[in-house]
Symmetry: C2
Subunit: 190 residues, 2 copies
Amino acid sequence: MQQLKDRIIREGKNLGGGILRVDSFINHQVDPALMDLCGREFARRFANVNATRVLTAEISGIAPALMAGLHMNLPVVYARKSKPITMPETVYLTTAPSHTKGRITELIVSPEYLGHGERVLIIDDFLASGETILGLVRLTRAAGATPVGVGAMIEKSFEGGRRALAHLGVPVESLVCITSMDNGEVVFGS
Amino acid sequence: MQQLKDRIIREGKNLGGGILRVDSFINHQVDPALMDLCGREFARRFANVNATRVLTAEISGIAPALMAGLHMNLPVVYARKSKPITMPETVYLTTAPSHTKGRITELIVSPEYLGHGERVLIIDDFLASGETILGLVRLTRAAGATPVGVGAMIEKSFEGGRRALAHLGVPVESLVCITSMDNGEVVFGS
């Protein structure tokens, strides 16, 4: 998606270690118009998967998932990373290592909002190693639901996430693909 | 806002202790269409404050703030509750007690995204005691910016937040006002 790519070129910062700083438009400051475009594009790409629900992980997945849900007319669920007191006692919980946080995070979903037989479209800001998305897949399956697609705004293909998701047999779509961040560069794929 | 009130009547749960569970449409599962309506309503109510930026706090402020920003054509900044490695070393940080979490939380904003002279519209899901919103006001002022309005989806007027914000001298708008949650009830004001 050209608008997103342009924005990364203009404002993204390669911090080294495969970390791309995009907090001027995605995960601290958010550009709502750009997110809206991304949501529209996810809706277009996943028009045929018959999803019944969008699933993401807090925090930075919320904005793109919300906009995808808006354009697909679907409810959005974001997995919590800690269990608020408003959540029921019994939940689905899985753990996933976070690259940028350097630790294991929990992903928690209430059984009320992820039901048996649902068709779940997973949306996140980044597809890197795929660990968070695989965590969301485990929650989906724990609920007796089926993952039907994975969408990410930015894929870092050199971290192998797409390969890690291949066994799912579902469409994996990224709006922009970065193939290398070596030597301080940001190299885009097609 | 009638649509939001209807949804609270239908799905909200009074958990006691002033806690309203709305995680089927606001803060775990999100209804994007309802959020879009709320954003549109915030845009209408704050059309004349000449805001240059929307500020909220992660996590559950993100969705309403994003939709308000979309309809006002403004960038949205969400204060982080922990400092990610992508954030600069020096930040604005304040602390605020969280009623629902029962502990002190940090609110952190990068100086890059809250500048001197900005006119800041603060949006959140709840206005209860006003502590989180006052924290966002402190961050705004630390940056040399000016708060120009406060919008919340749901006000719990019995927790005194509106009184705590009165000294700001800015419009405080809530889309739905709850005046009492005693005896398991949810009583709406006008």
